[in-house]
Structure formats: C-alpha cells, structure tokens
C-alpha cells in the first residue's frame, strides 16, 4: 500500500512514521503534488501553530491539493484543525473540508483546569468505521489548546472544559484531535482501521 505523509512546516511527522513502521507500513513523507494525488492513503499530521502552517500550505498550493483529494485522508491534531473552516488561533481561515466546524480556544478562565490539555482522555459516541474494534470510552493521548466544536461531522466526542469533537468525518476526509501515533494500542488500532478503508 502506498501511504503518503504530507510534508510541511509542522512537527511530529517522525512519530507518525515510526508508528506506521510498528504496524508494518513504510510511508513516504513528501510535498510533491503527484505523489500525494496518487497515494492510496494520505496522512496530514501536525503539531504547531495554525496561521503559520496555513501560510506555508497556501504558498505551495497544498491547501488546494488537499481539498481535491479523493482517497482516504487522515488529519491528526493540527492537521484535523486545518481541515476545518476557521481557527481562532491567530484568526486563521483554514482549508474548509469540515465547512461548518470552527476551531476555538479553550478558555481556562471558565474553570481551574490547565490549558493546553495534556494527557489521556476518553473518546465516546464513536460513529465511524475509523473506530472499529475500539470500545467506547477508550483512552487517547491529547495535547492541544484549541478544540473543534461539536457538529454534524462529529464521529467521536471528548470532554475537557466542554464537549467537543475529538474526531470528525466528511466523505473521504477523517480527522482526529488526539495523537493515534502516541495512543498505545488504541492508536495502533485506529491507524490500522484507517489503512483498511
């Protein structure tokens, strides 16, 4: 299987590569349009800041390329947020696959909890084959200060300060807020499910 990881100016690509290796997949990291278009599966990872990442993608027309993809695409963390309509992180217009979904900032003033959320939290109301063989309330590893609102595209929900979308899906596009590459066996199962789509 030809799996491509989109190369751009956001971190944690190495962790995704290693996680895929552990389940026997050798992925290619590239920003080459033809390689991305012709891949069987595309992974759009990311740890970083939204406006810097969007600018980088736009400068290279990678935003239009991502929008045109027809094979299964998995956005991870910032990757998922960039697939939404807009992010409050530096007031950034994003790619807009999830056209009704806005990304908002956790407001720590509302409670005494810490921001960013760092650690293991549960996912529930699982609604997609992406979560096959993953039980309700499984633990996943999260690191984020911004969250995607609940919407009709929500396929998993998590609670931190409020209920939000820990996973989204629209057509061939999937997004997860948590890090499957760092979420132990649950994360490995999710990656396997994505590769089996």
């Amino acid at each position: 299987m030809n799996v491509v990881i989109i190369k751009y100016n956001a971190g944690n690509i190495q962790s995704v590569l290693f996680a895929l290796e552990r389940i026997g997949i050798q992925a290619t990291v590239t920003d080459d349009a033809d390689l991305i278009k012709n891949a069987d599966k595309v992974i759009f990872p990311g740890v970083g800041e939204a406006s810097t990442a969007m600018k980088y993608l736009k400068d290279r027309k990678l935003d239009e390329l991502i929008l045109s993809l027809t094979q299964p695409v998995l956005g991870i963390c910032l990757g998922m947020q960039l697939l939404c309509k807009h992010s409050e992180e530096n007031n950034t217009d994003c790619i807009g696959i999830f056209e009704n979904v806005k990304v908002r900032k956790f407001n720590p003033a509302e409670t005494h909890v810490k921001v960013p959320q760092i650690g293991w939290n549960t996912v529930y109301d699982l609604k997609s084959v992406l979560f096959s063989n993953i039980t309700e309330n499984s633990y996943c590893y999260f690191v984020h200060g911004y969250y995607a609102e609940a919407s009709t595209d929500t396929i998993a929900t998590t609670e931190y300060i409020k209920r939000y979308s820990s996973a989204l899906q629209k057509n061939n596009f999937y997004g997860v807020q948590f890090h499957p590459e760092k979420s132990a066996v649950v994360g490995e199962q999710l990656l396997k499910n994505f590769l089996a789509l």
């Binding site: 971190g11 944690n12 190495q14 962790s15 290693f18 996680a19 290796e21 552990r22 740890v47 970083g48 800041e49 720590p108 909890v113 810490k114 921001v115 960013p116 959320q117 760092i118 650690g119 293991w120 939290n121 549960t122 633990y139 590893y141 999260f142 690191v143 984020h144 609670e159 931190y160 890090h179 590459e181 760092k182 979420s183 132990a184 066996v185 994360g187 490995e188």
Partner: protein
C-alpha cells in the same frame, strides 16, 4: 475525563539506566529500551529520559538511543539533560522525542525557553525546576542540586510559564530519593499558581504518596524512578489503587 499521569523516569548514563539517592551514588538499573517497553506494557502514561552525564561526545549516543526508544514505544516521551540550544532540541525531536526538558540552561539563559517555544511549540517544552528549602524558602537549585540560585521557586515557575513552557517538572531535592512522600505544600503552591500542567517529582515511596500528591497537591502527573525500576511498586497495582481512591487514571 482527563486522567492523572504516572510517569516513570529513566536516568541515563552511558546508555544505561541508573538511579541513585539525591543524584549521587549511582546504581545500575538496566537497559533503557527494555525498561521503557516494560513500562509501556504495564500502563505507564508517559516516560522521561534524563541524560545525567550529558556531554558533547555523548550527544550522538543519546540521539541514537532516542531513535531506538521512538521506534519501539507507542506512548509519549520526554528527553532531558544537557540541552542548551535549538540545534540540541532539533536533533532529539528529529529522532522521535515528543518533548524535551531543560533545567540549568533555562536558569542560565531564560530566553532559551522563548526560543524553543517559538521554534517547536510550547507543547514540547518542559521546564524542569529543582527546588531546595534554604532558610525556610523554596529556592531554585541547578546542576543536579549542587548550585543554588537567587530565584524563588514560585516566581521562577510563573516566569517559565510566561516564556512559553508547556509543562513544569517540579522536583523537591529535599524529598528526592527519600521515599518519604512528595513535597505536598510546594507542589500545591506551584500547581495552583501556574496555568500549565505540573509534574510532581521526588520522594515517592508508596502508593499512598501518589494519591496524596494528586488529591492534596493538585498535581497533574507524578514521576518516580527507583520504586518502579526495582519493582517496589508495580504500575498496574498503583493505578488500581488510585482508581479505587477515586482518582481518574487510564486503566
């Protein structure tokens, strides 16, 4: 619900895991990758690797070890020890580390925190703070506790947070290695005065100590070394105990 994290710490010297008391008297505790895998299987939530003899010639050995760890384990891990520059961090992140931890170098040049947060994001910048009671005040100490500073721990914790630290790893040098329990008052003061998660470290001796630091001190995570390495506490038993005591943990 977000859970409290249990973090085994592996002190690394020449590619092996070691642990002493109050940072001296080293004892060999085994192969780091083997230990890391054991902790993953037992349900550790994260791992911390501290290169305690970080020197320039050791950097390549450490990078190789980080890569080895990253290829094998499926949970997040932090690497610390002797990090002074953006380049030091780049090498560790490129080899698969999720976060890096800085301590003495941040005290020496606080702008390093800003630079790392800007270049790599706050999520991967852990600032380790070692504290010691000096004239009844919790003061920041460096170089593994050998050198004192004029910094009050709470002020320094606030400053590192303002500069972009994503987490604080707080070690009480008064408690480290004693197995008499975590520094509850200090941890509580810091955890309640900063907006980022605080990892409590130093003094874990039994399961009750972990419950105390989560319940009484509001720590977000607790770190320990020797009690895990020498199997005095098994992680599954600890997590069951915490769950029984109504503390949210990943089971």
């Amino acid at each position: 619900m977000l859970t409290k994290r249990i973090i085994p710490c592996l002190d690394i010297k020449d590619g092996r895991t070691v642990k002493g008391t109050n940072f001296v008297q080293l004892r060999d505790a085994g192969d780091p990758v083997e230990l890391a895998l054991r902790y993953c299987e037992e349900g550790a939530d994260e791992l911390v690797f501290l290169d305690i003899t970080a020197t320039t010639e050791n950097r390549k050995t450490l990078a190789k070890l980080v890569r080895e760890i990253a290829t094998h384990i499926n949970i997040p891990f932090t690497v610390g020890g002797g990090i002074n520059t953006i380049d030091d961090v780049s090498i560790l992140l490129e080899n698969g580390a999720d976060k890096i931890s800085i301590n003495t170098s941040a005290v020496k040049r606080p702008a390093l925190i800003d630079e790392l947060a800007k270049n790599f994001g706050s999520q991967c910048v852990v600032v380790a703070i070692d504290a010691r009671l000096i004239h009844h005040q919790w003061m920041v100490v460096t170089h593994g506790g050998r050198n004192s500073t004029m910094l009050f721990t709470r002020d320094w914790a606030k400053e590192v947070t303002a500069r972009g630290a994503g987490e604080i790893l707080l070690t009480s040098m008064e408690h480290d290695g004693t197995k008499g329990g975590f520094a509850i008052e200090l941890t509580k003061e810091i955890a309640n005065s900063v907006s980022v998660p605080v990892i409590a470290s130093g003094g874990a001796g039994n399961m009750e100590h972990f419950a105390d630091v989560f319940k009484k001190a509001n720590a977000d995570a607790a770190l320990a070394a020797s009690i895990f390495h020498f199997k005095e506490i098994a992680i599954p038993d600890l997590k069951k105990y915490l769950a029984d005591n109504k503390i949210p943990v990943r089971l």
